[in-house]
Symmetry: C2
Subunit: 359 residues, 2 copies
Amino acid sequence: MSKVFNFSAGPSMLPEPALQAAAKAAIDYNGCGMSLMTMSHRSKPIVAMFAETEALLREALDIPQNFKVLFLQGGASLQFCMVPMNLLPQDGCADYTITGVWAKKAAKEAKLFGKVNEACSSAEATFSYIPKELKQDPKATYLHVTSNNTIYGTEWKSFPKPANPNGYLVVDMSSDILSRKFDWTNMGLVYAGAQKNMGPAGVTIAIVRDDILGKVERVIPTMLSYATHIEGESMFNTPPVFSVYVVNETLKWVKSVGGVDALHKINERKAAKLYKAIDDSSFFKNPVAVEDRSPMNVTFVPTAEGHDEQFIDFCKARGLVQLKGHRSVGGFRASIYNAMPEEGVDALIEAMKDFEKQL
Amino acid sequence: MSKVFNFSAGPSMLPEPALQAAAKAAIDYNGCGMSLMTMSHRSKPIVAMFAETEALLREALDIPQNFKVLFLQGGASLQFCMVPMNLLPQDGCADYTITGVWAKKAAKEAKLFGKVNEACSSAEATFSYIPKELKQDPKATYLHVTSNNTIYGTEWKSFPKPANPNGYLVVDMSSDILSRKFDWTNMGLVYAGAQKNMGPAGVTIAIVRDDILGKVERVIPTMLSYATHIEGESMFNTPPVFSVYVVNETLKWVKSVGGVDALHKINERKAAKLYKAIDDSSFFKNPVAVEDRSPMNVTFVPTAEGHDEQFIDFCKARGLVQLKGHRSVGGFRASIYNAMPEEGVDALIEAMKDFEKQL
């Protein structure tokens, strides 16, 4: 089959130059006669590649110097337990904003370690909006936010401010990191599984403010302590070298197209035209509050029943794949992360129009 | 540079067909028009690939049906805490055999969760042998063994029997899995980071007997519970798909060369000729008890001082790289895992002889 446009929510499309570089490195890394997958993580070229990847990420997101950048494993799901294990005091409290399945999972895990205050929830409306009012605990150590909700297609356009003046934000950015810049003022920790906007599955980025650690009494297993990985410079144990390299090449691509601000503009344009096509259609509709619509995951449902499979097949025949909505909301979902070219969105819009015409 | 022989202890050489397949899949997976790195882990081709990988591993190692096969992240280092967290009762005890740095790390982590009895140790002799006498706790839930000690070049030729009739073995096989078959009779759990004999860094295999779980009282975070991953069939969260694929292709190569028994014979032959060259030499010597010598990691030290860097450079000029011994033992180490061709060992032996001649 010729190249397709892949609207998968994650793992997702990656920039073509990053894939080409990965294929080359799988055989011979930079002409050193060895596959990247077979090289010691402590060898000079790999240590240099990690340092470069960190520098590229710092540049892409204007990461302040008092934050450490870590390359970890286990995805956001492991962060769900590492966050409270490292940060939530046994007799303390944390605020969680419940805006989707992943946010709920994060809160559930935190409850194993301390008191969790659900500062808001849009569960009653199938998470179709971002709550505007928060009831924070004024003593909460941190306020946890899921910046973009992959399943429901909502995004926090700006982050709420922690009510506790000594509190900080912990943000799961798995599905919109590198899609826009954001303010670091109230940030304590940002984490993201790479497999949506940043690289392949198997590497997780954590960006940790250096003064938030060491404040809980509990014993933390070595591998689950952020301090371990800070001290080991992400090489306490063998890191997922190949996956980090694909992140490196993805970040180089981000830079080559003008950086995160340039991608933000393109993302806004891609999303705007797709949402417009949905709004203009009499067959499709988007169930999300207009002001909270995600530029990354565009969800839409048919207004008439019985055409779901038909539309999926119609698109597939045109090389537009992975458009099925998550089983909890049904309908369709087009994930249009950084690496989805505008032509992919145009092709989808055309397919939607053509499908509607022939109904 | 042209292809080199890479003696790195891990990540290490992988079979050429697996690397070629990986390079192809990085661009287009089985002609489906998408890079493997961009495909949903829940799509049919990926679910099928995981099932095939499990079947290949079961076949390669004769894994009995009452064991579950899991593809995890975090390396052996994360297993060091998952093992006691899931298996060691708070008021119980586990036996650990202390045969090297990794065995020590495993024991250290277990001490966070319960009582640890050090059943033996060769620390007093820089771990240059495998202890023959064990002082097990007759009530120990499990007996932990590091089957091959990468840094020191020792291997358990057979595994000790747990003293507790209801006890079982937990074996870290990171550096010799797939190099030989072994008896499953007393096994409870086998785990291994892939990056030595099985695939790239970023995927960890755990093989768990189905009756050993659910016997501890403590609360286990979701991602750290083996039960989670058994129930989710290694897809509770997004697994490291690309790394698992390289394991798949490595297992296909294992099968193509005649399986683990055939590799075992080749490994024995490779190791025997290298140890003979060391023993025959008047410049190099091997510090390990003869009966415990590892067929995977061959350590050797110079008998005269001041030639270390010189020998490393001499080998490097011939395309024989990553021969430096671990900093804790010095000298040299040739890791000759499954994927190291016999020609690589022959080339090293020739280099040793030539180096000695010109001294």
